[in-house]
Symmetry: C2
C-alpha cells in the first residue's frame, strides 16, 4: 500500500507556477473579493439611508433587509470566490460564478441558508450554482449543518489543500510547505523507533473491546504518574481525576459543553490559538471574549503582549456590563502563538483573579515540554502547593506537540472537580481513542528513562537549533519577532510589508505566500487586534525549513516590489 | 504492566452473595424506589385536587408547583436511590439518603438543577447530599453539563459497574457477566493473531501527523473497495463519499447534527438500539419518534414486530399533526435488537416512502456480516441498482460488531451526498481516529482472502453454534424468543415472569439479574412498548456463556418462587 500514490495530485502546481507573479491564483480572486466587498458595503450604505428616509412608512410595509442578512449575502459572495479559488485548486469543473439574488424574501433562516450553496463541493461534476438541482440539493442540510460546513471550509480550506498536495523532497517538490500548522516534525525518527519496539505491539483482549469511557484505567494511571513527575506536583496526582479523549480539542470542546451553556463566555487573552474558535463553533457555541494585549511597550505594558490581571479585570467588567455571562478564563501556557512562559507569580495572580469572580480556569499546557531556552522554567498550575480554587481549575495536556504525534489523537484532562470528571467522561462515548493507541501511549509515558535521557535532550536541542536558524534568517531580513524560548513557532511582525496596514492586506499577503506554496498562519486567525502579525512554525526538518525560508524570502521580495509600484502610482496621482 | 491489577476490585461480590435471596442489594432499593414513587404520585394527586379547589385564588398567589417540577423531584428521589445502589457497588462511603426539599422556589432551572446533586460521585469521601459544600459544588457545571452527566449516569451505571468488576474465569469468578452489551467475543483469537502480524506494525510518518479530517485517503479507498465487495454494489463506490470517524455512534451523532436542527425528528421503528438515544442527548438534541411494532401476530401484522410502510406512514402523519418536523427515518439492518434482516422489497418500499416525503434515511448496517443463517440473504441499500433518493440515503458501517473490535473506535459513513460528506467531515476534527489504528484497519479490510477463507467462515460457524446453544437452553426453559438468524443477540420474552406485567416489574427483574452478577438489557432501553422483553447477547466464549446461562436459570427460579409467594399472599387477602 502506498499512501502517497493515493494522494490526489492536482494541476495546482502548474497553475501556481503560472501565477508566481503579482496576479497569482490566490491574489486575483482576493482582489475580486475586496472589490465585491466594497460594492456591497456601498449598497448597504444606500439601504441604511433609505431606511432613515422610510421612518414614516409603517414597519410591516417596509422592504426591510436586516443588516445580518446583508452580512450573510456578503459572506456568501466572498465564499463563492473562495470556492472558485478552491475549484481551481482541485482541478474540478468548478463553480460558475453566479450572483445570488439579493432578495432574501424575509425568510428567517435565509441568511444562513445562503451558505448552503457555498458549502457545496465544487469538484463534483455538474455541481454548479446555476444548476436547478443544486438549489434543491442545498436543502439537504440542517441550518446548523450548513453553518458548520461553511465554518469548516473557511477554517480548513488551506489545510485541506495542504493534505492533498504536500511537499515531498523527491516526489513533490512543488507541493505546499506548511509552516502554518503547529506540528512538531523534529523527532519523527526517535518516535518511530520507540513506537516500533516490540513492547509496543502487545494485543490484549481488553484493547479490542469497549473501554472505560474516561479512558483505560492503565493509561489514566500512567498519565497521573507522568504529570506528577513532569509538572513537579507536590503530591501524587489521582488517576480518577484524569479523563483521556481523542485530542486536546475534544477535551476543550467537552469542557466548554459542561462548564458553559450556549452563549456564555470565556475570557481569552489575545492573540490565542484559533482552534478554540473552530471547536466552539462545532458543538459548544460558547463565546470567546478577547482580552486584547498590546504589542507596544509602554509604562503600563512593559513588555509586548504582556498579560496582566488588570487587563483581565477590565475585560471582565466590560463584558459583564454588556450583559455577557462570563464563566471562565482560558490560559495557554506556554502561550500559543506568543511563546510566552508565564511566571509563577503571574499564574497565581490569574488564578486568584478567577477565584475572586468565581470563574473557571482552563489551563492548556500542551507545550509544557517544549521549552527550549534553558534559562526559562515552566510552571504548571499543578505544581502549586495549593490551588486558589481547585474545583474550578482544569488542565489540558496531550502528546501532539511535545512528542510530535498529533496523529495519535490524544488529549488529557486533569481536574480535581469530580463533577467535571464525570460530565466530561460522558463524552468519552463519542470521543474515545483506539485501545491499541491507548496501550502505546501508556508504554510511551511509562518509559521515563528514555524520555529523560534520549527523547527530551534530543528534542530540545533540535528545537533550539531550528529556532536559532529561523531567528538568524529573520534578523537578516530585518523582521521583528518575539523571542520567548518556548513552543514550535515564532510570532513575527510583517506590518512593514502591508500598505495600508489592514487585515485585508494581511490576507492578501497570506495569499501571496499560498501562491508560492508556503503556508503561514496570519494574526487574524488568532484574533490579534493589530494586522500584520504572522505565526511561523520552525519545528521542521532543516532541509525543508531552508526550502521554506527560501520561498518566504521570495514572497517578501515580490511584496516589496509590489508595494514600490503601488507607492509610485500613488505619488504620480498626487 | 498488568491491566487487571489496575481494575478496582470491590467488596461487591460479598454483598451480592449476601443478597442472592429475594432481598438482593439491587432489589431492596428498587422496592424502596417503587414505594417512594407511589408516595409522590399520591402527593401529586393531592396537589392536583388542591389546584382544582384554588381556581378562584388569583394565579400569582397560588403556591403552585408545576407538574414538570414534580417529575423532576420524583426523578431526583429515584436517582438518589440509584446512587445509593451504586455507592454500595463501589464500596465508597456512600450517600446519606436525604429527602430534598420539596420547595423548588420557582427557579426555572430548578428541576434540572436537582439532577446536579444526583450526578455527583458518591464514592468521593465526604461528598454527601447533606454536606453544605456539596450544594456549592453542584454549581460548577452548566445546565447542559448537569443534564448530560445525569443521562450518562443513568445510561451507563451498569456498564461502569461491569468495567470495574468483570468476570474472569480465574481471577474474578464472582464478577459481572455482561450479556447486555452487544460485543462479539467469538473471534478474539483470530483477530489478535491477524493484528499481530508484521504487516500491521508499519509506522510511516503520515500516521503520526495530523490527518485528513474525513479519514486517511488510504483507508477511505480501502473502505470503498471493501463495501463495494461485501455490499454487492453494482458499480465501484467512490472513496470521496466515505467519511471515517471514531465509532458508528459518532457517525450517527454527526449525521443527526447536520441533517436536523435541535428538536427536529427521525422516525425509528421500535424496539431499536438505545445508543441512538444517548448519542442524541449529548449533542444533536434531535427527537427519535418511535414507530411501535407489535409483538402479536394478526392479519395486519403477519409476523411479530413486522415493519410495514403503512406503520411508517401513520407515524409520520401523527407526528406531523402534532407539529413535529420529521426529517428522516432510521433503519437498522440487520435489526438490533430483533435480528430481522430486511427483504429487498421491504427496503425498497421504505426508501420510496422516504422519498415521497423528502425524508432522509440513515441505514445502520453495522451487523451486515453477522448473518449466520445461511438461508437468509442480507441486502445492503448500496446493492440497489438505483437508490430512490441517493442524496438522502446515508449508510453507516463499522468493524465493532462484524470483526469484534469495538475497542478500535471505527465508524464509516457512506453517502452520495457531497454536502453531507463535507459537513460530517467537519466533525473529524473532534472525532478522529489514531493514524496507527487507521493503518491497521486498512490492512485488515484489504485482506479479503483471509476474511473470506478464514475469518468469516469461522466467525459464522461460531455464531451459529452459540445461537444453537442458547436457543436450546431457552426452549428448555419454555422462554419464547425471535429466531431471525442474524446479530449477536436474541430477543426474548420474559413476560410470564412479571406480575403485574409492567416496566417497574421489568426493572425489578433486571435488578435481580444484576444481583446475580448477570447483565442483560431490558426492553425499555429499546423503547419497546410492551414490558417484559429482554435482549440477550450470545456472542460469548462457550464456557462463559454456560456460566451466564446458569446464573440466568437461577434468577428465573428465584423469580418464579417470588411470584408464587406474591400470588399466595394475594389469594389469602381475597
Amino acid at each position: 500500500m502506498s499512501h502517497r500514490s493515493d494522494a490526489v495530485h492536482l494541476p495546482w502546481g502548474q497553475m501556481s507556477r503560472q501565477g508566481l507573479g503579482n496576479q497569482g491564483v490566490h491574489t486575483q480572486p482576493m482582489e475580486m473579493m475586496l472589490h465585491l466587498k466594497q460594492a456591497i458595503e456601498k449598497h448597504m450604505g444606500q439601504l441604511a439611508t433609505r431606511h432613515q428616509q422610510q421612518d414614516l412608512v409603517p414597519e410591516e410595509e417596509r422592504p426591510y433587509q436586516a443588516p445580518g442578512e446583508q452580512e450573510a449575502l456578503l459572506g456568501n459572495l466572498m465564499y463563492q470566490l473562495v470556492s472558485l479559488l478552491q475549484s481551481g485548486a482541485t482541478g474540478g469543473p468548478g463553480f460558475q460564478l453566479s450572483c445570488p439574488s439579493l432578495d432574501v424574501k424575509g425568510d428567517a433562516g435565509g441568511g444562513q441558508r445562503q451558505w448552503a450553496q457555498s458549502s457545496r463541493q465544487p469538484a463534483q461534476p455538474g455541481y454548479q450554482l446555476n444548476d436547478p438541482e443544486a438549489t434543491f440539493v442545498s436543502q439537504h442540510l440542517s441550518s446548523r449543518g450548513i453553518d458548520i460546513s461553511a465554518s469548516y471550509q473557511a477554517s480548513f480550506q488551506d489545510y485541506n489543500m495542504y493534505q492533498r498536495d504536500k511537499y515531498h523532497e523527491e516526489q513533490n517538490t512543488l507541493g505546499f510547505i506548511n509552516l502554518g500548522l503547529s506540528e512538531n516534525k523534529l523527532c519523527l525518527d526517535l518516535m518511530t523507533e520507540r513506537l516500533s519496539q516490540s513492547d509496543m505491539n502487545v494485543l490484549e483482549d481488553v484493547l479490542l473491546q469497549y473501554p472505560d469511557w474516561s479512558g483505560q484505567p492503565f493509561l489514566r494511571k500512567e498519565v497521573a504518574q507522568f504529570l506528577t513527575c513532569y509538572c513537579k506536583v507536590p503530591a501524587q496526582l489521582d488517576p480518577e481525576n484524569v479523563v483521556v479523549l481523542n485530542g486536546c480539542s475534544s477535551v476543550f470542546s467537552t469542557l466548554a459543553m459542561v462548564l458553559c451553556d450556549p452563549g456564555e463566555a470565556f475570557l481569552t487573552p489575545t492573540p490565542f490559538y484559533g482552534g478554540f474558535v473552530f471547536s466552539s463553533s462545532l458543538y459548544s457555541k460558547i463565546e470567546l471574549i478577547p482580552v486584547h494585549l498590546d504589542s507596544e511597550s509602554t509604562d503600563a505594558n512593559p513588555c509586548p503582549f504582556q498579560l496582566t490581571v488588570d487587563k483581565l479585570e477590565r475585560a471582565l467588567l466590560e463584558a459583564t456590563l454588556a450583559g455577557k455571562k462570563v464563566r471562565g478564563l482560558i490560559l495557554i501556557n506556554p502561550q500559543n502563538p506568543l511563546g510566552d512562559v508565564y511566571s509563577r507569580d503571574l499564574l497565581e495572580e490569574c488564578l486568584k483573579f478567577a477565584k475572586r469572580y468565581n470563574l473557571h480556569v482552563i489551563v492548556d499546557e500542551i507545550y509544557m515540554l517544549s521549552v527550549f531556552d534553558e534559562s526559562i522554567t515552566f510552571h504548571s498550575v499543578l505544581s502549586m502547593e495549593s490551588l486558589p480554587d481547585p474545583n474550578r481549575t482544569h488542565v489540558i495536556w496531550g502528546t501532539s506537540k511535545d512528542f510530535g504525534i498529533s496523529g495519535f489523537r490524544f488529549g488529557v484532562l486533569y481536574t480535581h472537580n469530580k463533577e467535571v470528571v464525570s460530565a466530561v467522561s460522558s463524552f468519552g462515548y463519542l470521543h474515545g481513542i483506539s485501545g491499541i493507541a491507548q496501550y502505546k501511549l501508556c508504554r510511551l509515558l511509562q518509559n521515563q528513562e528514555w524520555i529523560d535521557t534520549v527523547y527530551l535532550p534530543t528534542y530540545r536541542a533540535r528545537l533550539q537549533k531550528a529556532h536559532r536558524y529561523i531567528t538568524k534568517k529573520l534578523k537578516a531580513l530585518g523582521i521583528p519577532f518575539l523571542n520567548r524560548g518556548s513552543g514550535l513557532y515564532i510570532w513575527i511582525n510583517l506590518q512593514v510589508y502591508l500598505d495600508p496596514c489592514t487585515f485585508e492586506e494581511e490576507l492578501l499577503l497570506h495569499h501571496r505566500f499560498l501562491d508560492n506554496k508556503l503556508m503561514l498562519s496570519r494574526g487574524k486567525t488568532y484574533t490579534c487586534k493589530e494586522p500584520g502579525w504572522f505565526r511561523i512554525v520552525f519545528a521542521e526538518k532543516p532541509l525543508l525549513l531552508k526550502q521554506a525560508m527560501h520561498r518566504f524570502y521570495q514572497v517578501l521580495e515580490e511584496q516589496k516590489q509590489c508595494l514600490r509600484v503601488k507607492q509610485l502610482e500613488s505619488a504620480q496621482r498626487e
